[in-house]
Symmetry: C2
Subunit: 233 residues, 2 copies
């Protein structure tokens, strides 16, 4: 078979920014890099794109390798291609971000990569241009979460409205009036109230809710205001 001669080939990698929520703050999952350069330093989970796999497949493989999880929310973020971003050899990286239920991950943890959750705000310095990747991912989820219900991907199947509000307040670094927040999310029609309560967080206990998956898929692309005064983000 013919080839495109005279063109330079290069390495293509996928890096994953993996977000989780512990009930208090937004976190990202980092690993200690296992090979040179920058061996032993904190890094995003990543890997090279293999000859027979698509980019999405590559990202899913990498995510599963680290977390054991499949079917989690995964979205292509941006492709980073500064010529010198990897000092060894030119490598272009397609960044993906993932939103995982942190508790599911903890159940499946594999210690091969010395992975650790860090508060997004207190994460260590990362290698190469990964700092920029994380920053861009942070902006993207804020942007998207302001209008679309993606943050539910960070919560367990059953969750309470106060938990949900804490999540939004954490992501947007703000405080929201309880009454208005409750009205707002219930008005979306995405939530189903369950019979039982979460007694862990309070004395009275808060009702559990779960997503109405029908409406969730149907309305995912619709514009809904989840935060007050979304003039800019």
């Amino acid at each position: 078979m013919l080839k495109y001669s005279k063109q330079t080939r290069l390495l293509l990698a996928v890096d994953c920014i993996i977000f989780g929520f512990d009930g208090e703050v937004l976190k990202i999952l980092l690993i200690k890099r296992g090979f040179q350069p920058e061996k032993g330093n904190w890094s995003l989970m990543g890997g090279f794109v293999q000859p027979d796999e698509s980019l999405d497949q590559s990202a899913n493989r990498i995510l599963k390798q680290l977390t054991g999880l499949e079917g989690v929310y995964l979205e292509q973020l941006y492709t980073f291609g500064q010529p010198q971003r990897d000092p060894i050899e030119r490598t272009v990286s397609v960044a993906y971000f993932a939103l995982v239920d942190i508790h599911k991950y903890e159940a499946q943890i594999s210690d091969d990569y010395h992975a650790e959750w860090f508060q997004l705000k207190r994460a260590p310095k990362l290698i190469f241009d990964q700092q920029e990747m994380v920053e861009q991912a942070r902006k993207r989820i804020r942007y998207k979460a302001a209008m679309h219900p993606i943050l539910f991907e960070l919560l367990p199947t059953k969750f309470t409205i106060p938990q949900l509000q804490t999540l939004y307040e954490s992501v947007f670094n703000t405080t929201i009036d309880k009454r208005n927040f409750s009205k707002r999310v219930l008005a979306t029609g995405l939530l189903i109230k369950l019979a039982d309560k979460d007694k862990a967080g309070s004395k009275r206990g808060a009702y559990y809710y779960q997503l109405n998956m029908q409406n969730y898929y149907a309305k995912f692309q619709a514009f809904m205001n989840f935060i007050p005064n979304p003039d800019s983000l």
Copy 2:
């Protein structure tokens, strides 16, 4: 210098979806592909990423090659990496979309690529997965234009409000009430009313406006509703 041994290298391309507006409908600029495979068929303008250039540089180079234009609105759209998308050899493509003032381009046209503007709705079949690229670009500009003032990039420096409205109506395939549209765009504070009128489009003539670049840059990221009922797009 050390290399990442045992990893497969591949070709990386950039393809540009170039949008223009002729006063009536949204158009895209296509070329007749000059080499095999698919030689002579309609295609996006693209090229391989060179060893020493970033992706943005590559996209700008490709855009300039075809249109002669520099400094136009250019944004990374998505990276396409299905293993078989190019039948000759695995090539991953980073798609960019550009918004150009169609009249500026016409002034600078270079005939090397047999380029032609097509109505977006009536464009010919494209090679490889470029149909999908165009569709995704169309979605992206609709999405973004609903909230951010990107469509001004398609207009000349001086434009009238009826022209602007026609553009929005074309992009969103809808009709908008004149009074409400005018109020809406003027309320953004992005427009400066000029003293002279455009007499071409009507007997009475419509006042020209231009962008207030201060406000434009400052408020670009803010959420502004440019179309009514933006429930979903």
